[in-house]
């Protein structure tokens, strides 16, 4: 980087060529002098001579290019100086002689050129041994120049030829920079990788420096400050807080630590170069120069630092005071920019922030045009970089016109900005809008907008003018102008920027005329204050600036959007649970992030942005390979300039965030590929290149409710104790030992029959006159306490499955429930009855399934039967049954119940009876009476016949009658909130449904329906909770048995059991699920009996009849 002597322009050089920036009008697009080269530019220098104000010299490997900015950009190269054999490392114009310059190179030569004879150098000197890193002419003595070779400084006299005048062993390590004093002809400064800066007076001593500053960082440059006396600026090669230090060394001797009197701090990456920019009045005789420090850093920021009065004071420089010596005069430069554009404004403090953004792919397509918009969006005014980041985070408004324009430009890729001049507030935009008579046709419109100084404010409203064209009829044009003005007024009054709404309007979109949120405007006001304030602060607030904002790339993405609307950034990844315990994850791998790191790794390049641009095509190429592919000269350069170790040591995360923070618009170049022009989120454009992945992970192991257990569990059909044991087995087989243990415990709790044969116990019971229901559950060591603890444990774990299962197991059916698990309506052939009664060990399957869903011809029923059979020792049904059978054919099922009663009455009086205790139903007792009348004589008869003295009748199919649940068990009522238990069951039921176990679901849900209202159905034997006939008019009952929702339209009803379903649900149930039984749980095989389908109206008419 170099600044023109008039202080107006700065030149940046890189692999793409030269960029000339007008520092007074940073918004203007820089002038770009193309020079494609694969080598880093080591140095660029602007001629300091007023006679050649447009001359610039830059290096290109072993050549030096002399540019003349006065010539057109495509033909600006005046000379090519080619004589070095290795890469040039430094260029220095002669301070007095405009045609002379010196170059030095890795080939250890120092050449002096006369630009009038550019073919060959006029002088050459060589160290022969070590590569040269710096060359500088003495300011006071036109013949003397110094060059640095490794750790030596050689001083040459142009009149003396091959031997150096002096040879100073200056440092322990390679010298990075030397600088002559402007006032004192024998004094020079050197700085080096050995972390020291030394001040020499070579006329005094070539062995010991007059003063040495020890630093804690390798020093890249140490230069005199052009004002004040004996002050130097020290720039670290790395470390040192990326700052530039000002040190007074006047009158100091010996060795001392770095004691800066001022620090310019703010860059986030090492500073690459710093120069002073000065201005003074023409022809002045007093020293009235003003200074600004210009720094260029690896963070791609070019910063201008104002020099405050305090600094001047500190450095003993008083403006307008010192009379110039007669022999001394300031060179008056023509204050003219070589970036040809007029000048109007002058900004005190400017940061030009360049983004890598405009070196990415899309930019490549238009390589010979500079993307002005991107340039503008890279400029921030008036804040230091840190404040910049933070403010932007909560910024919903652009900061200035430049930002606004760039926002709009990125948002509407269809707008063409034909001319942008932010400094003058003038721009020319063309677009296609729907303003022709024919609505569908878009017509071309060109608008010129002039933004006044105070914009946006009430007085600073932009002026619009629309070019007259053939397509745009004049009334329409007037109307447009009027509308634009209105919009602008509205927004400007609220001190809001209006370009976006205006452009929206012109493009034919709807414009929100309500300028919302007062606070927003207020916020903005605040911000403007801040701006003015910041301008003066930014140099002083070094400390506050050290707050490294933790914003990641995401937040910077975010702020782009916030400027538009509050749509949040898309989520980069997500995970959603499914009911089955799987986790659906989706990822959008961030390749973009890698790219960013790539850029970050290119820290070695002097002008990283240029470099990055070069690489955009083959961004996959690794750093190393890229480097090896460039020539050895580039390597030379590399070795000379930086320590490679350092680059790789820089934490990438830091770089990454620094990068990202600086490029809110990072990806907007891809905007053409965006799905809609509205959706301008950065991530969208990113997505184009990225893969995305959806994965479904199985995390069923983490969920306490287990599907495999659900397949095995039983809740009905046996005594709870046995069921619990059975469930324990299921759990054990599947390897859930904790759960199995729990079931075992429970099975003990739930045992309800104490061994009655133990006469002592029965005596005890009678003596104590405690109720015949005797459960271990009531024991102080067991029962309630344990049950409660179990429930609590599973509640904490959140195991709905166990909770629901436990609640079912320990369920206590309210006594009031007149449940009649009988079925007589359909006649069972006599043969069935016979076979049933005769074959004791093989209960009739048909009957079984008719009553219960849970019939399994497996272990459980058999076990229950066998335990029962052990009680009844000498049974002989075979002979008995024929005699009973005819008389009992109507009472098949009643008989069973009654017989148990009989049995209890006769043989085991103390045995708790499942039936008698819980069925006080009138129905039953009615039939009981009948039965008593009918059958008892017969039984007695058969008994008295003598062939078989004792008849014990055992209940069969007990398990299918669900009789056990009616027995009191552990009193859950007191233990837990019933509603809660219902809830667990419901929740578990829905889980079961998810798992494809609708039958289990219905069983579990059965426990939730107790007593309450019972339909007065004539089909008593079913007494489904929800029946169709009987209470047909009651809306409550019109619920589908499948989905439990009200039936409103088409229904399917079973002719047998009268249970109804939605027509659709029926299809689902019978066809897709392939079920055989009624979904209500009544056990009816509806399909065997036939169903009918009709609309509700038809059905209710029928039932009315």
């Amino acid at each position: 980087m170099s600044v023109a002597p008039n202080g107006r322009d700065a030149v940046l050089a890189g692999r793409k060529g030269l960029f000339v920036i007008d520092l007074d009008d940073p918004f203007a697009a820089p002038r770009w002098l193309h020079h494609e080269t694969s080598w880093e530019v080591a140095d660029v220098q602007w001629s300091p001579h007023s006679s050649k104000p447009s001359w610039i010299v830059s290096t290109s490997n072993q050549k030096a290019m002399v540019w003349n900015l006065a010539r057109p950009s495509h033909d600006a190269i005046e000379h090519v100086l080619h004589s070095h054999t290795r890469a040039i490392t430094d260029i220095n114009f002669h301070p007095n002689h405009p045609e002379l310059l010196a170059t030095c190179s890795v080939d250890s030569f120092v050449l002096c050129w006369d630009l009038r004879t550019p073919k060959a150098p006029i002088h050459q000197w060589a160290d022969w041994r070590a590569a040269s890193s710096q060359v500088k002419w003495n300011f006071r003595d036109p013949h003397i120049l110094a060059s640095a070779h490794d750790s030596y400084i050689l001083i040459w006299d142009s009149r003396k030829g091959a031997m150096p005048l002096k040879r100073i062993k200056a440092h322990q390590a390679r010298i990075n920079g030397i600088d002559w004093s402007r006032e004192h002809r024998h004094e020079l400064i050197s700085c080096s990788n050995d972390m020291s800066v030394k001040f020499w007076s070579y006329d005094v001593s070539c062995e010991t420096p007059s003063f040495t500053i020890q630093t804690d960082f390798p020093v890249a440059r140490a230069r005199h400050v052009p004002f004040g006396d004996r002050i130097c600026g020290i720039m670290p090669l790395r470390g040192g807080n990326n700052s530039v230090y000002m040190v007074k060394y006047g009158g100091k001797e010996g060795v001392s630590q770095l004691d800066p009197s001022y620090v310019f701090k703010g860059h986030t990456e090492p500073v690459k170069d710093f120069v002073w920019r000065s201005r003074h009045h023409k022809g002045t005789r007093v020293d009235d120069r003003e200074f600004q420090l210009v720094t260029w850093s690896a963070d791609c920021d070019l910063r201008l630092w104002p020099v405050g009065e305090d600094i001047y004071d500190d450095f003993n420089y008083v403006k307008d005071q010192r009379q110039l010596r007669p022999d001394e005069s300031f060179v008056d430069y023509d204050y003219k920019s070589y970036r040809p554009e007029p000048v109007t404004s002058y900004e005190d403090s400017v940061i030009i922030r360049k983004r890598r953004a405009y070196y990415t792919t899309s930019y490549n397509q238009q390589t010979d045009q500079f993307n002005h918009l991107n340039w503008i969006s890279g400029i921030r005014m008036g804040q230091s970089a840190f404040q910049n980041d933070e403010i932007l985070l909560d910024n919903t408004q652009p900061m200035n016109l430049g930002e606004e324009v760039s926002n709009v430009g990125h948002k509407f890729p269809k707008l063409r900005f034909e001319r942008i001049s932010v400094s003058t507030g003038n721009m020319l935009i063309s677009l296609n809008g729907p303003w022709s008579d024919n609505k569908d046709e878009l017509i071309f419109i060109r608008v010129e907008i002039n933004f006044p100084k105070g914009y946006p404010s009430k007085d600073g409203m932009p002026k619009f003018s629309i070019e007259q064209t053939h397509d745009l009829i004049d009334p329409k044009r007037q109307e447009l102008l009027k509308n634009l003005k209105e919009i602008a007024e509205k927004y400007c009054e609220a001190r809001k920027f209006c370009l976006e709404p205006c452009m929206r309007f012109l493009l034919g979109e709807k414009v929100n005329m309500e300028v919302e949120e007062e606070e927003d405007a207020y916020e903005f006001e605040e911000r403007t204050d801040e701006n003015e304030f910041v301008g003066s602060i930014n140099s002083v607030s070094a400390d506050s600036a050290s707050v490294v904002s933790a914003t990641s790339s995401v937040s910077s993405d975010l702020l782009t959007e916030k400027a538009f609307d509050s749509t949040p950034v898309p989520k980069g990844c997500g995970a959603i649970w499914t009911p089955s315990g799987h986790l659906v994850c989706f990822f959008n791998p961030k390749e973009e992030k890698k790219e960013t790191i790539k850029f970050g790794q290119q820290g070695f390049s002097l002008m990283r942005m240029e470099d990055a641009r070069k690489r955009e095509v083959d961004s996959d190429e690794s750093d190393d390979s890229d480097e090896s592919s460039s020539s050895s000269l580039a390597n030379d350069l590399d070795i000379l300039q930086y320590d490679r170790m350092y680059r790789t040591r820089v934490p990438e995360g830091m770089r990454d965030s620094a990068m990202a923070g600086g490029r809110p618009y990072g990806n907007n170049d891809n905007s053409q590929s965006l799905p809609t022009e509205k959706s301008q989120t950065t991530a969208n454009s990113r997505g184009k290149h990225n893969r995305n992945i959806v994965k479904i992970y199985d995390f069923t192991g983490l969920i306490p409710a287990k599907m495999d257990l659900a397949f095995g569990y039983r809740v009905l059909g046996d005594t709870p104790g046995n069921l619990a044991l059975q469930n324990a087995l299921v759990a054990e087989n599947l390897g859930y030992s904790t759960i199995a243990d729990c079931w075992r415990l429970l099975s003990i709790l739930l045992v309800k029959e104490v061994n009655e044969k133990d006469s002592d116990v029965s005596e005890l019971i009678t003596r104590l006159s405690i109720p015949t229901h005797f459960f271990w559950g009531s024991h102080p060591f067991g029962g309630l306490w344990l049950a409660r603890e179990l429930m609590r444990y599973y509640e904490i774990i959140g195991d709905v499955q166990m909770l629901a299962m436990l609640s079912c197991m320990m369920y206590e059916r309210p006594i009031t429930r007149p449940r009649t698990p009988v079925s007589t309506s359909y006649t069972v052939p006599a043969s069935n009855a016979v076979s049933r009664t005769t074959s004791f060990m093989a209960p009739h399957p048909h009957f079984h399934s008719a009553v219960s869903f849970s019939y399994r011809p497996s272990a459980a029923p058999e076990r229950s039967v066998s335990t029962i059979s052990s009680l009844s020792e000498d049974v002989s049904f075979r002979s008995n049954s024929p005699s009973i059978d005819p008389s009992m054919s109507h009472y098949k099922t009643h008989r069973r119940g009654i017989k148990q009663v009989q049995q209890q009455e006769t043989s085991v009086p103390h045995s708790p009876s499942s039936v008698s205790s819980s069925i006080p139903s009138n129905v039953f007792s009615h039939s009981f009476d009948k039965f008593m009348n009918n059958s008892r004589p017969k039984l007695e008869e058969s008994r008295s016949s003598g062939s078989l003295p004792q008849v014990k009748v055992q209940i069969l199919n007990k398990e299918s009658l669900d009789l056990f649940e009616d027995v009191q068990m552990v009193k859950m009522e007191g233990l837990m909130d019933k509603q809660k238990l219902d809830m667990y069951r419901t929740e578990y039921a829905s889980l079961l449904f998810f798992w494809g176990l609708p039958v289990s679901r219905v069983k579990v849900l059965k426990f939730n329906y107790n007593g309450g209202t019972v339909g007065r159905s004539e089909y008593r034997e079913h007494e489904g909770e929800i029946g169709w006939e009987g209470d047909g008019r009651d809306v409550k009952l019109r619920k589908c048995h499948f989905c439990l929702l009200r039936v409103t339209k088409r229904i399917t009803a079973c002719v047998n059991c009268n249970h109804i379903m939605h027509a659709e649900c029926a299809m689902e149930w019978w066809e897709r699920e392939g079920m055989k039984e009624c979904p209500s749980g009544c056990g009816c095989h509806c399909l065997d009996h036939g169903t009918y389908e009709r609309t509700l109206e038809e059905a209710s008419e029928e039932s009315d009849m």
Binding site: K571, N692, I696, I703, G798, E987
Partner: protein, 292 residues
């Protein structure tokens, strides 16, 4: 494990399995929604739904009792309802009351009917009721100042089914709880929970009703807060607890509870999904991690 790569041309924003775990719906910046049939480790693309004019942020399956119905919301401010009949998908309804991007949608518990909650960047929430006759009833209310990023329903309370609640998270860094007021026929703010320092990106109300209400809120401030309240407690009793004491390594995008509220899945900007379980002492512990 099913892995579907490059299903879309753009970023994927949501992927949801249906009620039975058979179908996967994904949506993307490429403005499309794709339906996959998932069976074991295999999957098959069934259909691609087009209709949105912007990136599609979220999709949501309705309860199967309403049919095979999918809702989707997009940057274009619209919510579209899709239905599968036969083997074809078609757009059966559109809900476009919002002026800005609709960021999330959520079907109400099926007990309430076909109600869909939509939250938008225009700062409003809306609840649309799709009625049997095809008409829609909409309630719109202002919820969060700058924008509403997410919203979900509370699980239905058995004893009091009319007491519907909604939780939303917005750009004002707040989590708000709303209760349906049948008299005013709108949702009234019941609670505003402050705790985050950046935008709340997702809220999830645990489906479990065991002993406490749990709400998880994930935010861009790199934290996830678990808000709990004992069932039956009065207003203002929400307790807040950080899921993780230190911050997450990156912003937190999404929170999702497993079916019975046992495990919470958090996905973040570092492209990692972490799983969390509450231990017996009431502390949250990491129970697993999924990396891309």
């Amino acid at each position: 494990m099913v892995t579907i790569s490059n299903a879309h041309d753009g970023l994927i924003h949501d992927a949801v399995l249906d009620y039975y775990g058979k179908r996967l719906a994904t949506c993307s910046s490429d403005k499309t929604i794709k339906i996959f049939q998932v069976e074991g480790d295999n999957y098959k693309l069934i259909d691609t739904l087009r209709g949105h004019e912007g990136p599609v942020w979220q999709v949501s399956w309705a309860h199967p009792k309403f049919g095979v119905i999918l809702a989707s919301c997009s940057y274009d401010g619209k919510v579209l309802i899709w239905k599968e009949e036969g083997d074809t998908w078609s757009n059966i309804a559109e809900h476009s009351v919002h002026q800005a991007s609709v960021n999330s949608i959520s079907w109400a518990p099926s007990e309430y009917g076909a109600l869909l909650l939509c939250t938008s960047s225009d700062g409003k929430c809306s609840v649309v009721e799709f009625q049997a006759d095809g008409s829609q009833k909409t309630i719109v209310w202002q919820a969060h100042a700058i924008g509403v990023n997410a919203g979900t329903w509370a699980p239905p309370q058995k004893e009091n089914i009319s007491e519907r609640r909604i939780v939303t998270g917005g750009c004002d860094n707040l989590v708000k709880i709303w209760r349906f007021d049948a008299v005013q026929n709108t949702y009234v703010e019941e609670e505003a929970l402050a705790g985050h320092t950046d935008w709340v990106r997702d809220v999830a109300w645990s489906p479990s009703l065991l002993s406490k209400y749990y709400i998880a809120s994930a935010s861009q401030d790199r934290t996830v807060i678990i808000w709990t309240k004992e069932v039956g407690e009065k207003k203002g009793a929400w307790k807040k607890q950080l899921l993780r004491h230190d911050k997450f390594p990156d912003v937190c995008w999404r929170a999702s509870w497993s079916m019975s509220g046992n495990v919470l899945a958090i996905s973040g900007g570092d492209n990692k999904v972490t799983l969390w379980k509450e231990n017996l002492g009431g502390e949250w512990e990491e129970a697993g991690e999924v990396d891309q």
